[in-house]
């Protein structure tokens, strides 16, 4: 493989990894606080729709972004209500949210635009344009490093850079701030947080809101950064892959980056090389398609190290039986 092809595959990797990364970090905040979330998919979908719809209506991608975040946060609040306030089953709440988003987006889109659950194509200021970083043109002549800078690092939409910046930011918030300390504590031992005089529900709602915010970014990136509009079910299972990446990353931000890049790379490779021919055997495209899922199972099986979730994860905090 020559450098150019490699760069192109990596470039594609970055784009495919970005929504995964944002969703993965979203899940990380939620699950670190003890609220499991298999509703990432639904939140992303809701955000993708809301951002595209509002961007189409207002012509401003920024207002669209806000709407996308708003929609995902709304879904998060439903999840919070069910799993924090009413101590419901978090997994079931997540399943319900996925259904809800899948139905509501199309229903509303149809009602608003009459295009069968699609939003009108976004043009001009309605979408995030790729950003060319300074000196990208000038440096592209430099061997090896030039193309890497110009083709791989430069030329993505702003949300990609935001997503990557979120990794150190998340790490810093989790491990260097008071909020992070409490957040990690509440996912591990909510009664310790409670007796220390900090509200368990407050912290968890905080985490769930951050989760909504990041899912909002992820969905908006799909619909207004990568694409120019919303198409029904356009998240296409990315929320589940993000969840898998989260487990792979053992609920750590920097690992999450690598996990998402790995899954992005797998997808990029699968898209570019379908039906791989190895000697006499042909690996059918279906195998490449299912590879991320197969890999997740292998990881979960513990062949790549055991993943231990936050101790209080998935359990509602019940003081009085």
């Amino acid at each position: 493989m020559d450098l150019l092809t490699l760069l192109q595959v990596l470039d594609s990797t970055v784009r495919l990894a970005t929504p995964l990364l944002l969703a993965c970090l979203a899940g990380l905040f939620s699950e670190r606080s003890g609220v499991f979330d298999i509703g990432l998919e639904g939140k992303m979908l809701a955000a993708a729709f809301a951002s595209a719809a509002v961007a189409a209506l207002t012509g401003s991608v920024w207002i669209g972004l806000l709407a996308g975040i708003g929609a995902a946060v709304f879904m998060s609040l439903i999840h919070g209500l069910a799993s924090i306030t009413f101590r419901g089953n978090q997994l079931i709440s997540g399943v319900a949210i996925n259904f809800l988003a899948s139905g509501l987006t199309v229903l509303i889109a149809q009602d608003l635009f009459g295009q069968g659950g699609r939003t009108p194509s976004l043009i001009g200021a309605g979408r995030f344009e790729p950003i060319t970083l300074p000196f990208a043109e000038a440096l592209s002549g430099v061997p090896v490093l030039g193309p890497i800078y110009a083709d791989l690092i430069s030329g993505h939409s702003i949300l990609v850079y935001v997503a990557f910046a979120m990794v150190p930011l998340s790490w810093w918030v989790l491990f260097r701030t008071r909020f992070g300390l409490r957040l990690r504590a509440v996912g591990d031992s909510p009664e310790a947080v409670d007796t220390a005089g900090v509200s368990v529900a407050g912290l968890r709602y905080g985490a769930v809101l951050i989760c909504g915010l990041l899912c909002g970014l992820a969905g908006a990136y799909l619909a207004t950064g990568l694409q120019a509009g919303f198409v029904r079910e356009m998240t296409a299972g990315r929320g589940y892959i993000a969840l898998a990446a989260l487990i792979f990353a053992k609920w750590r931000p920097v690992h999450a980056l690598w996990a998402c890049l790995l899954f992005g790379l797998l997808q990029a490779v699968a898209l570019r090389y379908q039906n791989i021919h190895l000697g006499g055997i042909t690996i059918p495209v279906q195998v490449m398609d299912a590879l991320p899922y197969i890999l997740t199972v292998i990881i979960l099986a513990g062949f790549v190290g055991k993943a231990i979730p936050p101790r209080a994860g998935g359990e509602p905090y019940v003081k009085e039986r």
Binding site: F175, R176, T177, R178, F179, G180, L181, R182, R184, A185, D188, S189, E191, A192, V193, D194, T195, A196, G197, V198, S199, R311, K319, E320, R321
Partner: protein, 533 residues
């Protein structure tokens, strides 16, 4: 003298659903004193203190701190009012360091670094002032319970608590550690701090408190000056009638060895070796009591013999070797071989709480052909037998169709006992037989155990209550750190000697016993910490 009480509770009531945990409680605690609260399990002590600490909200009643009416809707308010609490079940974040646990909720600002730095200094000072040394950078999960308790106390002191509540602090400590704790409390009192100490051990109350309140069935029966009362009076106040804690028994007539254990070893999931070569023999017709501080391998010993966990070494039952791992080594196989097992924790092991009582009466024996008709279970017969057993063991209410969770602790224990004893086993393993059981039931259970012994059964008893060990055992073995430290006859030993053994100090280690205790405990901790890495 009209000094305002540090704490005054007026008319506190609290119900958990249908359970009335506290009813109309009034109590006052004077500043600079140690106030004891005693009462049986389930009397409502923890609930009351949790209300004072803002963990639960009372249904009714008022709280006065230093004479001022104070609302304590949450723990933040309690901390602000200068109240600190060390819970019966520690509230620590296991994968945080000591330092992180101490600052949690009491950080100085939004950034961690400065808080951690300051806390390190304060902690050093506190540990010097109060003999509360603990490594600030160690993870909690690597600390012994004794040290975890120190962290809890440090947490309270770091928050500058003037009033310190300790809920059953000595349950997990060796006698020497308990002494050390009491010295610390003494020091705190000398500095003018107010301490509320919950326990159900009369000895401790008499030793350290200034005043004492007695709780029974959710109510406060009396508050008296310690100097003006006696253990007998307190016990009577606690239970509501005169107590006879003496078990009548004839000397044992041990027969042939029934259970022979040699070099039994077990390593838990975390890689900590919990049993480090235990050898014991139990004869027919005797009770072998295992004494020890909770967490020194007694639970694992029962579990290994009962088939709940894998082990290595050898166990001979009536001379025949039992498989210790792989097929045929589970609890069902042990039961079939004649080992009955009353587990330490009836609620998480011995019973399935949502199951009915009758379903529970065959739990573990459900594969017995007697429970079957064809491929199905013979529920009619099981129900009938359950009814009989419940009547014989005086389970109240004697309704087999009630779910196990709807029986009180003592009655739950009777259901377990009925199930295990009625099987007429050769060996009875019995852990904490009277934990959380009222005095009346205790008498009954003790009598049953002795009756079984006299019927020629081999009985292995584990209890953290030394009194119980003394009352029932024909021989006493002491466990420390997964090993048997020694065996004594109850007539020829006393609580002090056993206490030292429980701390890992053998008679040969002369000199300062406390120092020896510390040394051996540290050794144990280091071993466990290593296993975690």
């Amino acid at each position: 003298m009209t000094q305002a009480p540090a704490i005054e509770l007026k008319g506190i009531s609290k119900a958990f659903g249908p359970v009335q945990a506290n009813k109309d409680i009034n109590v006052r605690v004077m500043p600079g004193t140690i106030h004891g609260i005693i009462g049986e399990n389930g009397a409502g002590k923890s609930t009351l203190m949790s209300i004072l600490y803002g963990f639960y909200k009372a249904d009714a009643g008022e709280i006065f701190v230093a004479g001022r009416k104070t609302d304590i809707p949450n723990s933040q308010a309690a901390i602000a009012a200068g109240i600190g609490m060390v819970f019966q079940h520690f509230k620590l974040v296991q994968n945080f360091t000591v330092l992180e646990n101490v600052i949690l909720g009491a950080e100085d600002g939004p950034m961690l670094r400065p808080s951690l730095a300051r806390a390190r200094g304060v902690l050093k000072q506190l540990s010097e002032d109060y003999e509360l040394s603990v490594d600030p950078d160690q993870l909690i999960e690597n600390l012994s319970v004794g040290h975890q308790q120190r962290v809890e106390i440090l947490k309270a002191l770091y928050r500058q608590a003037d009033i310190l509540i300790l809920d059953e602090p000595t349950g997990v400590l060796t006698p020497a550690e308990a002494d050390h704790l009491f010295r610390i409390l003494d020091g705190l009192r000398a500095q003018g701090k107010t301490i509320i100490l919950i326990t159900h051990k009369l000895r401790e109350i008499m030793e350290i408190t200034d005043t004492v309140s007695v709780m029974r069935r959710g109510g406060m029966t009396a508050t008296v000056k310690t100097a003006e009362t006696s253990p007998e009076q307190l016990a009577e106040l606690m239970v509501g009638r005169k107590v006879l804690l003496q078990v009548h028994k004839t000397p044992a007539r041990p027969g042939a060895p029934v259970l022979q254990i040699d070099d039994l070893r077990h390593t838990d999931r975390h890689g900590v070796e919990r049993l480090r070569g235990v050898s014991l023999t139990v004869h027919a017709g005797e009770v072998l009591g295992i004494a020890g501080v909770a967490g020194n391998g007694q639970s694992e010993l029962l579990e290994a013999i009962g088939g709940c966990v894998d082990a290595s070494g050898s166990i001979l039952l009536n001379g025949k070797a039992l498989p210790l791992s792989g097929p045929g080594s589970d609890g069902a196989a042990r039961r079939a071989a004649g080992i009955a097992h009353v587990p330490e924790d009836r609620q998480t092991e011995g019973l399935i709480m949502p199951f009915t009582a009758w379903e529970n009466t065959v739990f573990g024996y459900h594969r017995d052909p007697a429970c079957q008709t064809g491929p199905l279970m013979n529920n009619a017969a099981i129900k009938q037998q359950a009814q009989d057993k419940m009547t014989r063991y005086d389970v109240r209410p004697p309704n087999p169709a009630l779910a196990a969770r709807n029986f009180s602790g003592g009655n739950q224990q009777k259901i377990v006992l009925a199930r295990e004893i009625e099987r007429d086993p050769d060996v009875l393993l019995i852990g904490q037989p009277t934990r959380g059981v009222d005095i009346g039931a205790i008498e009954f259970i003790h009598k049953e155990i002795i009756r079984l012994r006299d019927a020629g059964k081999a009985i292995l008893l584990v209890s953290v209550e030394l009194d119980e060990i003394f009352a029932l055992s024909d021989r006493i073995a002491v466990m420390f750190d997964g090993k048997i430290m020694g065996e004594r006859a109850p007539e020829s030993t006393d609580q002090t000697e056993l206490g030292l053994l429980m701390a890992g100090v053998t008679a040969s280690q002369a000199g300062d016993p406390i120092a020896a205790v510390d040394a051996s405990l540290h050794q144990k901790e280091r071993r466990e910490a290593r296993a975690h890495d």
